[in-house]
């Protein structure tokens, strides 16, 4: 059981990276529908950077840069060229999927056995990890999890207690108000999308070099979309995103657990693999109150 909960936290980490990124960007009115592509590009760049340099740090930095570039492309098309956010995102996701498998082959050919790196090690925190029950669950994780422990409350504080947060939230509710207050709406939106790209890149790299130690083209398998779903199930609020992430992390942990014990007599294994996706659908349709930013998905047009 402890193992399962520890897994929940671990598998929840990248989801929360993605969901927080999505929350911040969507609060300005930008649905980052390219999140799946950002994850995948992050996973790819993380692996390539990590494998070629032999350093996971370089891997994560490459992932951040890759996420930034994909997000930059998405932001430029949607914010400055005013194109439709869903259409653009889907197109970019398809583009990235093709690009990643192509570039992987260009660089590595078609290896007989999959190339691997040794993934992020868990770092038990002295003293804290020895607390019974909670210790091994919360404090025997990788560095990414510890970072997210800070990022989650930090993003909440930023959104609700700082002028930057007020600007971000206002931009998604009524961009004219932001404009009239002398702040450039497009810049605000673009910067948050870039931030989402960096965070999404890290999240993607978690799957390749933080956990599996290898890259496959279907490594993300819709988890970007799950982060996307967590954002709105969590009511565009970092707190809600944390709760949503725990639910999905748990579902994923169960799926991995059932896979590992291989007890497919009772339940087909596929059911558990499908669990997070089924949960997305069920939670989405059972949600009642929405706190959706009023101008979510609407480009800001202003002639001058």
């Amino acid at each position: 059981m402890i193992n399962l909960l520890s897994r929940t936290i671990m598998m929840g980490t990248p989801l929360l990276f993605g969901a927080l990124a999505e929350v911040i960007a969507e609060r300005t009115g930008m649905m980052v529908t390219a999140i799946e592509g950002i994850f995948l590009m992050g996973a790819w760049a993380g692996f390539v950077g990590g494998y070629l340099s032999g350093s996971l740090i370089v891997g994560f930095l490459s992932a951040m840069l890759a996420g930034l570039l994909v997000a930059g492309l998405y932001g430029w098309i949607c914010i400055y060229l005013k194109q439709h956010q869903v259409v653009t995102g889907v197109a970019i996701n398809l583009l990235v999927a093709g690009l990643c498998s192509f570039l992987y082959r260009v660089i590595f050919g078609v290896p007989i056995t999959p190339l691997t790196v040794s993934p992020l090690a868990t770092i038990p925190i002295p003293l804290l990890s020895e607390i019974p029950l909670l210790g091994p669950i919360l404090f025997n994780q990788t560095i990414l999890t510890y970072i997210i422990y800070f990022l989650a409350p930090l993003s909440y504080f930023m959104l609700y207690k700082t002028s930057m947060g007020l600007t971000i939230r206002s931009a998604g509710e009524n961009p004219e108000a932001v404009d009239v207050a002398g702040i450039n709406v497009l810049t605000v939106r673009f910067l948050t999308v870039l931030l989402a790209g960096v965070m999404g890149g890290v999240a993607g790299a978690f799957y390749s070099i933080g956990f599996l130690g290898m890259f496959t083209t279907n490594i993300i398998g819709g988890r970007g979309w799950i982060a996307f779903a967590i954002c709105f199930l969590g009511n565009w609020n970092p707190k809600g995103a944390v709760i949503g992430t725990l639910a999905f992390g748990f579902a994923e942990a169960i799926a991995i657990y059932m896979q590992s014990i291989g007890n497919s007599a009772l339940f087909p294994n596929e059911l558990f693999i499908a669990l997070p996706y089924i949960m997305t659908i069920v939670l989405t349709i059972s949600r009642k109150s929405f706190n959706v930013p009023a101008k979510l998905g609407v480009p800001y047009l202003k002639e001058n």
């Binding site: 700082t162 002028s163 600007t167 509710e173 932001v178 009239v180 207050a181 002398g182 009023a294």
Partner: protein, 510 residues
């Protein structure tokens, strides 16, 4: 003469092919109330947005205290002491009063308590009743405007620009606003007051700039002019105004439409309409007065069938039509000119002819072997274009390309034909220039003369008074009273619009 506080010199501004401002020059002194008067589309908002840094001028320059300045963003305007309250408020409905006021004026971590106190003090100083913790979405428009003003005061404004500030206010609220303007300028500050209402100009302005078609046509001291001269400058010609004499003496007593104790419950639980009973006779114009957002749109939609009432009945010529849907009601002869023509009245990217067909596309008369009878439709549309003098080269012209007035005429032409018995007009002249307003008024009177019944919703009291045979006042979804229009004065109707009951109004007056 002292150097002007601010001066605009030879400003021109083009939007693609539209000339919004051409060679506009005027100045404003310290302590002065300057009125910017002009019809819709005259370029008033544009010239002020240039001064506020929202738009960039294509030609011309700006001066402060005689020195040339550049204003490239609202931030820079604010630093120079300029604030502008937009025609459509730019507040965030989901945020509190405090959050709205400090947006763009704070840095780093927000000390909410400090700001709340500061705003409370400022509000008290100016005698505004405001709770800094209220959410904007819960406030009446009049109060929202106070938030906008407070926001400007918070930024230590010396020049306050207000774009059509009284459009959303009751006459009493407007009077309070004028009071504020006088106090504020008495302290040495300046106000630019954009409006198209002559009365306001005469009551508050020191000097008047009249604009027409993007240019300045007059720069006159209030004491040296009158309403007649101003209206001629503003319109550029004389108009044949609908006056009280056009009212008919006797109303047909035959009942056409009856609304019986209709209540409409919103999802949130508060009724949008509460126990409404109205009778509309043949050949009668019933005006519905009220500040916008008090249930007018719901009332119109109940009549045309877009929404069904929670309780109550609607009768047309004695027949119960409460359960009939929109399509059935169109067939019964109820026409509806909605307030927002661009979203509810027409499809902008379709042609005039297609828009004509919009509400009767299924009708046999437009069909030929299952296809649309293009020829017949175009013929019909062309006739309407002539009859309503719509400025369009052909029935195939796309609606988006027409001016607001001509778009409204398209909707009008269609609905007048649909409404064989009853026509509902919701704010039929909003945003139109005076020529088009006049045309719409003439059409309404013509239809009444044909014996049709008209429900006229408007927030412009002048319009209500000029056209209506009887007037009902709507406040928070309730009818405050129904009057023959001769019985009402502006003052009385203002009190009713503000929520006072008939009894109270009478005892107040007595």
């Amino acid at each position: 003469m002292a150097t002007a506080f601010f001066e605009l010199r030879g400003i021109s501004k083009y939007f693609a092919k539209v000339i919004a401002n051409q060679d506009v020059s005027f100045s404003i002194q310290r302590g002065e109330v300057l009125a910017l008067l002009g019809e819709n589309g005259a370029g008033k908002s544009t010239i002020m947005k240039i001064l506020y840094g929202l738009y960039k001028a294509d030609e011309g320059k700006l001066l402060k205290d005689g020195r040339e300045i550049k204003i490239d963003s609202p931030k820079e305007a604010m630093e120079l002491g300029i604030s502008m309250i937009q025609q459509h408020f730019s507040l965030v409905p989901a945020h509190t009063v405090t959050d709205n006021i400090i947006l763009g004026n704070v840095h780093g971590i927000i000390d909410h308590k400090l700001f709340r106190e500061e705003i409370k003090r400022l509000a008290e100083l100016y005698g505004f009743e405001l709770n800094p913790d209220d959410f904007i979405r819960d406030l009446a428009v009049g109060v929202q405007q106070k938030v906008e003003i407070l926001k400007a005061l918070y930024q230590k404004t010396n020049l306050l620009i207000m774009d059509e500030p009284t459009a959303v206010l009751t006459p009493q609220e407007a009077e309070n606003l004028m009071g504020f303007v006088r106090d504020f300028t008495a302290q040495g500050n300046s106000v630019i007051f954009i409006t198209h209402k002559l009365k306001e100009v005469m009551s508050v302005a020191d000097r008047i700039i009249v604009m027409r078609a993007g240019r300045v046509f007059g720069d006159i001291k209030r004491a040296e002019t009158n309403e007649l001269e101003l209206s001629k400058l503003m319109i550029g010609r004389d108009l044949n105004w609908v006056t009280k004499e056009d009212r008919q003496e006797s109303i047909d007593q035959e009942v056409r439409l009856e609304i019986q104790q209709v209540t409409l419950q919103e999802k949130t639980g508060v009724p949008a309409l509460k126990d409404i009973s109205l009778t509309l006779h043949k050949g009668e114009i019933l005006g519905i007065a009220g500040v916008s957002g008090n249930g007018q749109q719901e009332l119109c939609e109940i009549v045309c069938g877009a929404i069904l009432p929670t309780k109550g009945k609607i009768l047309l010529d004695g027949e119960d039509i409460t359960e009939r849907k929109i399509r059935a009601r169109i067939d019964l002869g109820i026409g509806y000119v909605p307030a927002d023509r661009s979203s509810d009245g027409m499809i902008m990217d379709m042609s005039i002819a297609e828009n004509m067909l919009l509400k009767s596309s299924y009708a046999k008369k437009w069909q030929k072997r299952g296809f649309i009878d293009k020829q017949k439709l175009n013929q019909y549309t062309w006739q309407e274009i002539q009859d309503y003098s719509i400025k369009a080269p052909s029935p195939e012209t796309i609606a988006r390309g027409l001016s607001g007035g001509n778009q409204q005429k398209v909707v009008l032409a269609r609905e007048v034909d649909n409404g064989e018995k009853v026509i509902v007009f919701d704010q039929p002249t909003r945003g139109l220039d005076l020529g088009a307003v006049n045309h719409v008024h003439q059409v309404i009177l013509q239809e009444r003369a044909k014996g049709k019944s008209v429900l006229l919703v408007s927030t412009e009291l002048a319009e209500i008074f000029a056209l209506s045979d009887r007037i009902a006042i709507l406040y928070k979804g309730e009818i405050q009273g129904v009057f023959n229009s001769a019985e009402l004065t502006t003052e009385k109707i203002g009190l009713l619009m503000a929520g006072f009951r008939e009894r109270e109004v009478k005892s107040d007056a007595g």
